[in-house]
Amino acid sequence: MTSAASNHNSDTESDSNGYNFAYLDEQTKRMIRRCLLKAVAVPGYQVPFGGREMPLPYGWGTGGMQVTATIIGQDDVLKVIDQGADDTTNAVSIRRFFARTAGVATTESTLAASVIQTRHRIPETPLSHGQILVYQVPIPEPLRFIEPRETETRKMHALQEYGVMHVKLYEDIARFGHIATTYAYPVKVNGHYVMDPSPIPKFDNPKMHGSPALQLFGAGREKRIYAIPPFTRVESLDFEDHPFEIQGWDQTCEFCGSDHSFLDEVVTDDEGGRIFICSDTDYCNQRFETGARQEAV
Protein backbone atom coordinates (compact mmCIF):
# COMPACT_ATOMS: atom_id res chain seq x y z
CA MET A 1 0.00 0.00 0.00
CA THR A 2 1.36 3.38 0.93
CA SER A 3 4.05 2.14 3.24
CA ALA A 4 6.43 0.94 0.56
CA ALA A 5 6.29 4.30 -1.18
CA SER A 6 6.83 6.29 2.01
CA ASN A 7 9.76 4.13 3.07
CA HIS A 8 11.35 4.92 -0.22
CA ASN A 9 10.79 8.64 0.30
CA SER A 10 12.08 8.66 3.83
CA ASP A 11 15.24 6.85 2.78
CA THR A 12 16.05 9.35 0.11
CA GLU A 13 15.19 12.41 2.17
CA SER A 14 16.24 11.64 5.70
CA ASP A 15 19.55 13.15 6.55
CA SER A 16 22.67 11.11 7.03
CA ASN A 17 22.44 11.82 10.77
CA GLY A 18 19.29 9.68 10.97
CA TYR A 19 16.98 12.39 12.31
CA ASN A 20 13.53 13.11 10.95
CA PHE A 21 13.05 16.09 8.60
CA ALA A 22 13.70 19.24 10.66
CA TYR A 23 14.81 17.23 13.71
CA LEU A 24 11.46 16.89 15.54
CA ASP A 25 9.48 13.65 15.26
CA GLU A 26 6.07 13.70 13.59
CA GLN A 27 4.11 13.16 16.80
CA THR A 28 5.70 16.27 18.33
CA LYS A 29 5.08 18.28 15.18
CA ARG A 30 1.40 17.33 15.18
CA MET A 31 1.07 18.42 18.81
CA ILE A 32 2.78 21.77 18.12
CA ARG A 33 0.73 22.23 14.94
CA ARG A 34 -2.50 21.86 16.88
CA CYS A 35 -1.24 24.43 19.40
CA LEU A 36 -0.27 26.83 16.61
CA LEU A 37 -3.77 26.66 15.12
CA LYS A 38 -5.29 27.48 18.53
CA ALA A 39 -2.74 30.27 19.05
CA VAL A 40 -3.76 31.87 15.75
CA ALA A 41 -7.45 31.52 16.63
CA VAL A 42 -7.02 33.28 19.98
CA PRO A 43 -4.49 36.04 19.18
CA GLY A 44 -2.16 36.87 22.07
CA TYR A 45 -3.25 33.96 24.27
CA GLN A 46 -0.39 31.75 25.43
CA VAL A 47 -1.13 28.14 24.47
CA PRO A 48 0.70 25.58 26.65
CA PHE A 49 2.56 22.95 24.63
CA GLY A 50 4.69 19.91 25.35
CA GLY A 51 8.06 21.55 24.77
CA ARG A 52 10.79 19.09 23.84
CA GLU A 53 14.44 19.16 24.74
CA MET A 54 16.38 20.56 21.86
CA PRO A 55 20.08 19.95 21.25
CA LEU A 56 21.00 23.36 22.65
CA PRO A 57 20.37 25.02 26.01
CA TYR A 58 17.25 26.89 27.07
CA GLY A 59 17.70 30.57 26.36
CA TRP A 60 19.25 29.90 22.97
CA GLY A 61 15.98 29.85 21.11
CA THR A 62 14.59 26.38 21.78
CA GLY A 63 11.00 27.65 21.60
CA GLY A 64 11.51 29.47 18.33
CA MET A 65 13.33 26.46 16.91
CA GLN A 66 10.48 24.10 17.76
CA VAL A 67 8.02 26.42 16.02
CA THR A 68 10.30 26.74 13.00
CA ALA A 69 10.88 22.97 12.85
CA THR A 70 7.12 22.44 12.90
CA ILE A 71 6.16 24.86 10.16
CA ILE A 72 9.13 24.63 7.81
CA GLY A 73 8.91 22.71 4.52
CA GLN A 74 11.28 21.82 1.72
CA ASP A 75 10.35 24.89 -0.33
CA ASP A 76 10.92 27.40 2.46
CA VAL A 77 13.83 29.81 2.56
CA LEU A 78 14.99 30.43 6.11
CA LYS A 79 16.58 33.54 7.58
CA VAL A 80 17.72 33.67 11.20
CA ILE A 81 18.65 36.86 13.02
CA ASP A 82 19.99 37.53 16.47
CA GLN A 83 19.49 41.14 17.60
CA GLY A 84 19.09 42.02 13.92
CA ALA A 85 22.36 40.40 12.82
CA ASP A 86 22.65 37.38 10.53
CA ASP A 87 26.24 36.66 11.47
CA THR A 88 26.23 36.20 15.24
CA THR A 89 26.72 32.83 16.97
CA ASN A 90 23.06 32.15 17.76
CA ALA A 91 21.86 33.03 14.27
CA VAL A 92 24.61 31.08 12.52
CA SER A 93 24.07 27.93 14.61
CA ILE A 94 20.31 27.88 14.19
CA ARG A 95 20.57 28.54 10.46
CA ARG A 96 23.08 25.70 10.11
CA PHE A 97 20.93 23.43 12.24
CA PHE A 98 18.02 23.70 9.81
CA ALA A 99 20.23 23.58 6.74
CA ARG A 100 21.53 20.27 8.08
CA THR A 101 18.42 18.65 9.52
CA ALA A 102 15.88 19.91 6.96
CA GLY A 103 18.08 20.68 3.98
CA VAL A 104 16.24 23.96 3.45
CA ALA A 105 17.66 26.93 1.59
CA THR A 106 18.90 29.73 3.84
CA THR A 107 19.38 33.40 3.16
CA GLU A 108 20.42 36.62 4.84
CA SER A 109 18.02 38.70 2.77
CA THR A 110 14.76 39.69 4.45
CA LEU A 111 13.03 39.93 1.06
CA ALA A 112 14.06 36.44 -0.05
CA ALA A 113 13.05 34.66 3.16
CA SER A 114 9.71 32.88 3.64
CA VAL A 115 10.37 32.03 7.30
CA ILE A 116 12.39 34.35 9.54
CA GLN A 117 13.35 33.23 13.01
CA THR A 118 14.33 36.16 15.16
CA ARG A 119 15.85 36.84 18.52
CA HIS A 120 14.79 40.26 19.79
CA ARG A 121 14.37 42.30 16.58
CA ILE A 122 11.90 42.81 13.75
CA PRO A 123 13.72 43.42 10.45
CA GLU A 124 13.80 47.05 9.22
CA THR A 125 12.74 45.98 5.72
CA PRO A 126 8.93 45.80 5.85
CA LEU A 127 7.66 42.22 5.87
CA SER A 128 5.28 41.09 3.18
CA HIS A 129 2.21 38.89 2.94
CA GLY A 130 3.05 35.20 3.10
CA GLN A 131 6.14 35.60 5.27
CA ILE A 132 6.22 34.09 8.76
CA LEU A 133 8.18 35.70 11.58
CA VAL A 134 9.08 33.33 14.44
CA TYR A 135 10.13 34.98 17.70
CA GLN A 136 12.28 33.39 20.37
CA VAL A 137 10.68 34.21 23.71
CA PRO A 138 12.39 33.92 27.12
CA ILE A 139 9.46 34.83 29.40
CA PRO A 140 6.07 34.77 27.65
CA GLU A 141 3.98 36.01 30.57
CA PRO A 142 3.96 39.83 30.70
CA LEU A 143 2.44 39.75 34.20
CA ARG A 144 4.98 37.30 35.63
CA PHE A 145 7.13 39.88 37.46
CA ILE A 146 4.00 41.40 38.98
CA GLU A 147 2.22 38.15 39.85
CA PRO A 148 4.33 34.99 40.11
CA ARG A 149 1.40 32.54 40.37
CA GLU A 150 0.34 30.99 37.07
CA THR A 151 -3.21 30.36 38.39
CA GLU A 152 -3.55 34.08 39.15
CA THR A 153 -2.10 35.39 35.88
CA ARG A 154 -4.47 33.08 33.99
CA LYS A 155 -7.39 34.55 35.90
CA MET A 156 -6.10 38.07 35.25
CA HIS A 157 -5.97 37.39 31.50
CA ALA A 158 -9.44 35.81 31.62
CA LEU A 159 -10.89 38.88 33.38
CA GLN A 160 -8.71 41.31 31.42
CA GLU A 161 -7.54 42.58 34.77
CA TYR A 162 -4.57 44.56 33.48
CA GLY A 163 -4.63 47.50 35.87
CA VAL A 164 -1.39 46.36 37.51
CA MET A 165 0.41 46.64 34.20
CA HIS A 166 -0.64 50.26 33.91
CA VAL A 167 0.45 50.80 37.52
CA LYS A 168 3.89 49.44 36.61
CA LEU A 169 4.15 51.88 33.70
CA TYR A 170 2.86 54.69 35.93
CA GLU A 171 5.56 53.96 38.51
CA ASP A 172 8.08 54.68 35.74
CA ILE A 173 6.44 58.05 35.13
CA ALA A 174 6.36 58.85 38.83
CA ARG A 175 10.06 58.02 39.19
CA PHE A 176 11.60 59.16 35.88
CA GLY A 177 9.01 61.46 34.37
CA HIS A 178 8.47 59.15 31.40
CA ILE A 179 7.80 55.46 30.72
CA ALA A 180 11.28 53.97 31.09
CA THR A 181 10.44 50.51 29.73
CA THR A 182 12.48 50.26 26.53
CA TYR A 183 12.21 46.59 25.52
CA ALA A 184 9.64 43.81 25.99
CA TYR A 185 7.17 46.69 26.09
CA PRO A 186 3.69 45.18 26.73
CA VAL A 187 1.12 45.28 23.93
CA LYS A 188 -2.59 44.58 23.75
CA VAL A 189 -3.57 42.25 20.91
CA ASN A 190 -6.92 42.66 19.16
CA GLY A 191 -8.27 44.59 22.14
CA HIS A 192 -8.14 41.64 24.53
CA TYR A 193 -4.93 39.92 25.64
CA VAL A 194 -1.94 41.83 26.98
CA MET A 195 1.07 40.14 25.46
CA ASP A 196 4.83 40.19 25.86
CA PRO A 197 6.27 40.92 22.43
CA SER A 198 9.53 39.18 23.54
CA PRO A 199 12.49 41.45 24.34
CA ILE A 200 12.34 43.41 21.08
CA PRO A 201 13.12 47.12 21.55
CA LYS A 202 9.97 49.21 21.81
CA PHE A 203 11.27 50.76 18.58
CA ASP A 204 9.89 47.64 16.84
CA ASN A 205 6.47 47.58 18.53
CA PRO A 206 4.68 49.65 15.85
CA LYS A 207 5.82 47.13 13.19
CA MET A 208 3.67 44.44 14.83
CA HIS A 209 0.47 46.40 14.30
CA GLY A 210 -1.33 45.39 11.10
CA SER A 211 1.70 43.50 9.81
CA PRO A 212 0.92 41.56 6.63
CA ALA A 213 3.16 38.73 7.90
CA LEU A 214 2.09 36.03 10.34
CA GLN A 215 3.89 36.36 13.70
CA LEU A 216 4.46 33.26 15.84
CA PHE A 217 6.08 33.22 19.29
CA GLY A 218 7.73 30.20 20.92
CA ALA A 219 8.96 29.98 24.50
CA GLY A 220 10.87 26.73 25.02
CA ARG A 221 11.65 26.86 28.71
CA GLU A 222 8.19 28.10 29.68
CA LYS A 223 6.52 25.87 27.06
CA ARG A 224 4.14 28.44 25.60
CA ILE A 225 3.20 29.34 22.03
CA TYR A 226 1.30 32.43 20.96
CA ALA A 227 0.57 34.23 17.74
CA ILE A 228 -0.55 37.37 15.99
CA PRO A 229 -2.35 36.77 12.67
CA PRO A 230 -1.69 39.22 9.82
CA PHE A 231 -3.58 42.54 9.91
CA THR A 232 -4.27 42.39 13.63
CA ARG A 233 -4.60 45.35 15.98
CA VAL A 234 -1.54 45.53 18.26
CA GLU A 235 -1.45 48.51 20.63
CA SER A 236 1.39 49.37 22.98
CA LEU A 237 0.02 50.23 26.43
CA ASP A 238 0.23 53.92 27.31
CA PHE A 239 -1.62 56.86 28.88
CA GLU A 240 -3.47 59.73 27.22
CA ASP A 241 -1.00 62.26 28.68
CA HIS A 242 2.01 59.96 28.20
CA PRO A 243 1.49 58.44 24.77
CA PHE A 244 3.69 55.58 23.55
CA GLU A 245 6.91 56.80 21.94
CA ILE A 246 9.78 54.98 20.26
CA GLN A 247 13.40 55.80 20.89
CA GLY A 248 15.38 58.00 18.47
CA TRP A 249 19.06 58.82 17.93
CA ASP A 250 20.95 62.01 17.26
CA GLN A 251 23.55 59.97 15.35
CA THR A 252 23.27 58.18 12.02
CA CYS A 253 24.65 54.77 11.02
CA GLU A 254 28.41 54.95 10.51
CA PHE A 255 28.26 52.56 7.52
CA CYS A 256 25.09 53.36 5.60
CA GLY A 257 24.13 56.75 7.04
CA SER A 258 20.63 55.62 8.02
CA ASP A 259 18.81 58.08 10.27
CA HIS A 260 15.70 55.97 10.78
CA SER A 261 16.86 52.47 11.80
CA PHE A 262 17.58 51.00 15.24
CA LEU A 263 21.22 51.76 16.05
CA ASP A 264 23.72 49.84 18.17
CA GLU A 265 26.45 51.75 20.00
CA VAL A 266 29.88 50.23 19.42
CA VAL A 267 32.88 51.19 21.55
CA THR A 268 35.90 51.48 19.29
CA ASP A 269 38.80 52.24 21.66
CA ASP A 270 39.54 52.87 25.32
CA GLU A 271 39.49 56.63 24.96
CA GLY A 272 35.76 57.09 24.73
CA GLY A 273 35.57 56.60 20.97
CA ARG A 274 32.30 55.11 19.80
CA ILE A 275 30.29 54.70 16.64
CA PHE A 276 26.64 53.88 15.94
CA ILE A 277 25.72 51.21 13.41
CA CYS A 278 22.46 49.61 12.22
CA SER A 279 21.50 46.59 14.30
CA ASP A 280 19.87 45.03 11.20
CA THR A 281 22.91 43.88 9.19
CA ASP A 282 20.94 42.91 6.07
CA TYR A 283 19.23 46.31 5.92
CA CYS A 284 22.55 48.11 6.44
CA ASN A 285 24.26 46.06 3.71
CA GLN A 286 21.41 46.71 1.25
CA ARG A 287 21.61 50.46 1.88
CA PHE A 288 25.40 50.42 1.74
CA GLU A 289 25.42 48.60 -1.60
CA THR A 290 22.80 50.81 -3.25
CA GLY A 291 24.52 53.90 -1.85
CA ALA A 292 27.91 52.74 -3.13
CA ARG A 293 26.43 52.06 -6.55
CA GLN A 294 24.87 55.50 -6.73
CA GLU A 295 28.22 57.11 -5.91
CA ALA A 296 29.94 55.06 -8.63
CA VAL A 297 27.40 56.31 -11.19
Binding site: T2, S3, S6, S10, D25, R33, L37, L159
Partner: protein, 225 residues
Amino acid sequence: MTATNETHLFAMQALSTTFSPALSPATSTAFSLAGLCAGFDDPVHQSQQVFRRALTALSEPGTVQNVPESPAPEGAHSASYQLCLTLLDAETPLWIAPALRTDALVSALRFHCGCRLVDEPGQAEFALISPDFDGDLTHFAQGSHEYPDRSTTVIVQVESLDAASTWTLRGPGIDGIRKVGIAGLDPRWPGMLADNCRQFPCGVDLMFTAGTALMGLPRTTRVEI
Protein backbone atom coordinates in the same frame (compact mmCIF):
# COMPACT_ATOMS: atom_id res chain seq x y z
CA MET B 1 8.97 8.62 10.27
CA THR B 2 10.69 5.40 9.45
CA ALA B 3 9.41 4.03 12.74
CA THR B 4 5.83 4.94 11.81
CA ASN B 5 6.05 3.10 8.55
CA GLU B 6 7.60 0.07 10.16
CA THR B 7 4.75 0.05 12.64
CA HIS B 8 2.24 0.22 9.80
CA LEU B 9 3.96 -2.59 7.91
CA PHE B 10 4.08 -4.64 11.05
CA ALA B 11 0.43 -3.98 11.74
CA MET B 12 -0.50 -4.98 8.22
CA GLN B 13 1.45 -8.20 8.44
CA ALA B 14 -0.04 -9.02 11.80
CA LEU B 15 -3.55 -8.30 10.55
CA SER B 16 -3.15 -10.29 7.38
CA THR B 17 -1.76 -13.28 9.27
CA THR B 18 -4.38 -13.22 11.96
CA PHE B 19 -7.35 -12.57 9.75
CA SER B 20 -6.37 -14.31 6.54
CA PRO B 21 -9.46 -15.89 4.95
CA ALA B 22 -8.09 -19.39 5.45
CA LEU B 23 -7.85 -18.97 9.21
CA SER B 24 -11.02 -17.07 10.00
CA PRO B 25 -13.33 -16.59 7.06
CA ALA B 26 -16.02 -14.97 9.19
CA THR B 27 -13.92 -11.93 10.20
CA SER B 28 -11.97 -11.52 6.99
CA THR B 29 -14.26 -8.89 5.51
CA ALA B 30 -14.55 -6.85 8.70
CA PHE B 31 -10.79 -6.54 9.16
CA SER B 32 -9.68 -6.64 5.57
CA LEU B 33 -7.36 -3.88 4.48
CA ALA B 34 -8.37 -4.34 0.86
CA GLY B 35 -10.89 -1.51 0.88
CA LEU B 36 -8.95 0.74 3.24
CA CYS B 37 -8.42 4.24 1.89
CA ALA B 38 -4.75 5.12 1.54
CA GLY B 39 -3.15 7.71 3.80
CA PHE B 40 -0.35 10.03 2.71
CA ASP B 41 2.33 8.55 0.43
CA ASP B 42 4.86 10.79 2.10
CA PRO B 43 3.49 11.66 5.57
CA VAL B 44 6.28 14.03 6.61
CA HIS B 45 6.07 16.45 3.71
CA GLN B 46 2.43 16.07 2.78
CA SER B 47 1.28 16.73 6.33
CA GLN B 48 3.59 19.76 6.49
CA GLN B 49 2.06 21.13 3.29
CA VAL B 50 -1.50 20.57 4.46
CA PHE B 51 -0.69 22.09 7.85
CA ARG B 52 0.70 25.26 6.26
CA ARG B 53 -2.50 25.66 4.29
CA ALA B 54 -4.54 25.11 7.45
CA LEU B 55 -2.40 27.68 9.26
CA THR B 56 -2.91 30.20 6.47
CA ALA B 57 -6.63 29.39 6.38
CA LEU B 58 -7.07 30.14 10.09
CA SER B 59 -4.74 33.14 10.17
CA GLU B 60 -6.38 34.69 7.09
CA PRO B 61 -10.05 33.82 7.57
CA GLY B 62 -12.16 33.66 4.45
CA THR B 63 -9.33 32.90 2.02
CA VAL B 64 -9.70 29.68 0.07
CA GLN B 65 -6.71 27.35 0.35
CA ASN B 66 -6.39 24.31 -1.87
CA VAL B 67 -4.81 21.06 -0.76
CA PRO B 68 -3.42 18.68 -3.41
CA GLU B 69 -5.69 16.05 -4.94
CA SER B 70 -5.61 12.77 -3.08
CA PRO B 71 -8.01 9.88 -2.49
CA ALA B 72 -10.48 10.16 0.39
CA PRO B 73 -12.83 7.60 1.92
CA GLU B 74 -16.44 7.60 0.77
CA GLY B 75 -18.37 10.51 2.25
CA ALA B 76 -15.34 12.56 3.29
CA HIS B 77 -14.04 15.51 1.32
CA SER B 78 -10.41 15.25 0.33
CA ALA B 79 -9.56 18.40 2.32
CA SER B 80 -11.30 17.09 5.46
CA TYR B 81 -9.54 13.75 5.20
CA GLN B 82 -6.14 15.34 4.69
CA LEU B 83 -6.72 17.67 7.65
CA CYS B 84 -7.48 14.62 9.79
CA LEU B 85 -4.36 12.80 8.57
CA THR B 86 -2.31 15.90 9.36
CA LEU B 87 -3.66 16.83 12.78
CA LEU B 88 -5.11 13.71 14.44
CA ASP B 89 -3.38 11.03 16.44
CA ALA B 90 -3.94 8.94 19.55
CA GLU B 91 -4.08 12.12 21.67
CA THR B 92 -7.03 13.71 19.88
CA PRO B 93 -10.58 12.49 20.48
CA LEU B 94 -12.68 12.89 17.33
CA TRP B 95 -16.43 13.19 16.97
CA ILE B 96 -17.99 12.42 13.60
CA ALA B 97 -21.58 13.46 12.91
CA PRO B 98 -23.72 10.31 12.45
CA ALA B 99 -24.49 11.20 8.83
CA LEU B 100 -20.79 11.11 7.94
CA ARG B 101 -19.82 8.12 10.10
CA THR B 102 -19.19 5.62 7.30
CA ASP B 103 -17.22 2.43 7.84
CA ALA B 104 -14.73 3.51 5.19
CA LEU B 105 -13.96 6.80 6.98
CA VAL B 106 -13.91 5.33 10.48
CA SER B 107 -11.58 2.47 9.56
CA ALA B 108 -9.27 4.75 7.57
CA LEU B 109 -8.93 7.24 10.43
CA ARG B 110 -8.52 4.48 13.02
CA PHE B 111 -5.78 2.88 10.94
CA HIS B 112 -3.85 5.96 9.82
CA CYS B 113 -4.33 8.27 12.81
CA GLY B 114 -5.12 5.87 15.62
CA CYS B 115 -7.52 8.47 17.01
CA ARG B 116 -10.24 7.74 19.52
CA LEU B 117 -13.84 8.25 18.35
CA VAL B 118 -16.09 9.72 21.02
CA ASP B 119 -19.87 9.71 21.30
CA GLU B 120 -20.25 13.14 22.88
CA PRO B 121 -19.33 16.21 20.77
CA GLY B 122 -18.31 17.99 23.98
CA GLN B 123 -15.47 15.54 24.56
CA ALA B 124 -13.97 15.96 21.13
CA GLU B 125 -10.89 17.98 20.27
CA PHE B 126 -11.82 17.69 16.60
CA ALA B 127 -15.21 17.19 15.01
CA LEU B 128 -16.23 16.38 11.48
CA ILE B 129 -19.74 17.49 10.58
CA SER B 130 -22.03 18.41 7.72
CA PRO B 131 -23.85 21.78 7.88
CA ASP B 132 -27.24 20.25 8.65
CA PHE B 133 -25.98 18.47 11.78
CA ASP B 134 -28.34 18.01 14.66
CA GLY B 135 -27.64 20.57 17.39
CA ASP B 136 -25.61 23.74 17.42
CA LEU B 137 -22.04 24.83 17.96
CA THR B 138 -22.43 25.11 21.75
CA HIS B 139 -22.59 21.29 21.91
CA PHE B 140 -18.86 21.22 21.26
CA ALA B 141 -16.16 21.98 23.81
CA GLN B 142 -15.95 25.78 24.14
CA GLY B 143 -12.82 26.03 26.25
CA SER B 144 -12.81 28.05 29.48
CA HIS B 145 -11.84 31.66 30.08
CA GLU B 146 -8.60 30.41 31.66
CA TYR B 147 -7.95 27.83 28.91
CA PRO B 148 -9.71 28.97 25.72
CA ASP B 149 -7.49 26.59 23.72
CA ARG B 150 -9.35 23.59 25.13
CA SER B 151 -12.11 23.87 22.57
CA THR B 152 -13.17 21.78 19.61
CA THR B 153 -11.91 22.48 16.12
CA VAL B 154 -14.88 21.75 13.86
CA ILE B 155 -14.41 20.64 10.26
CA VAL B 156 -17.57 21.38 8.30
CA GLN B 157 -18.12 19.74 4.90
CA VAL B 158 -20.02 22.13 2.64
CA GLU B 159 -21.07 22.11 -1.03
CA SER B 160 -18.78 24.84 -2.24
CA LEU B 161 -16.59 27.70 -0.99
CA ASP B 162 -16.76 29.87 -4.10
CA ALA B 163 -20.46 30.60 -4.32
CA ALA B 164 -21.74 34.17 -4.82
CA SER B 165 -20.51 36.28 -1.90
CA THR B 166 -23.13 36.63 0.77
CA TRP B 167 -21.10 37.16 3.92
CA THR B 168 -18.78 39.97 4.94
CA LEU B 169 -16.03 39.01 7.34
CA ARG B 170 -14.08 41.27 9.71
CA GLY B 171 -11.48 40.55 12.34
CA PRO B 172 -7.84 39.55 12.82
CA GLY B 173 -6.23 38.24 9.64
CA ILE B 174 -8.46 40.41 7.45
CA ASP B 175 -7.31 43.73 6.02
CA GLY B 176 -10.58 45.64 6.25
CA ILE B 177 -13.29 43.30 5.06
CA ARG B 178 -13.40 40.05 3.08
CA LYS B 179 -16.41 38.72 1.21
CA VAL B 180 -17.08 35.00 1.08
CA GLY B 181 -19.75 32.74 -0.34
CA ILE B 182 -20.22 29.36 1.29
CA ALA B 183 -22.84 27.17 -0.37
CA GLY B 184 -24.87 24.61 1.52
CA LEU B 185 -25.24 26.20 4.96
CA ASP B 186 -28.71 26.23 6.44
CA PRO B 187 -30.18 29.50 7.85
CA ARG B 188 -29.11 28.70 11.43
CA TRP B 189 -25.46 29.35 10.65
CA PRO B 190 -25.13 33.16 10.78
CA GLY B 191 -26.77 33.19 14.22
CA MET B 192 -24.60 30.34 15.49
CA LEU B 193 -21.45 32.03 14.22
CA ALA B 194 -22.44 35.35 15.82
CA ASP B 195 -22.99 33.58 19.16
CA ASN B 196 -19.67 31.79 18.77
CA CYS B 197 -17.85 35.07 18.12
CA ARG B 198 -19.56 36.83 21.03
CA GLN B 199 -18.23 34.31 23.56
CA PHE B 200 -14.59 35.20 22.85
CA PRO B 201 -12.14 34.02 24.18
CA CYS B 202 -14.20 30.83 24.37
CA GLY B 203 -15.76 29.28 21.29
CA VAL B 204 -14.99 26.80 18.54
CA ASP B 205 -12.82 27.30 15.47
CA LEU B 206 -14.20 26.20 12.14
CA MET B 207 -12.65 24.81 8.99
CA PHE B 208 -14.99 24.62 6.02
CA THR B 209 -14.07 22.11 3.34
CA ALA B 210 -15.40 21.45 -0.16
CA GLY B 211 -13.49 18.90 -2.23
CA THR B 212 -9.86 19.97 -1.98
CA ALA B 213 -10.73 23.55 -0.95
CA LEU B 214 -10.38 24.73 2.62
CA MET B 215 -11.48 27.90 4.44
CA GLY B 216 -10.88 28.80 8.07
CA LEU B 217 -13.23 30.74 10.33
CA PRO B 218 -11.72 31.17 13.80
CA ARG B 219 -13.78 32.42 16.74
CA THR B 220 -12.44 35.96 16.27
CA THR B 221 -14.09 36.46 12.87
CA ARG B 222 -17.26 38.56 12.80
CA VAL B 223 -19.76 37.57 10.13
CA GLU B 224 -22.26 40.02 8.65
CA ILE B 225 -24.87 39.20 6.05
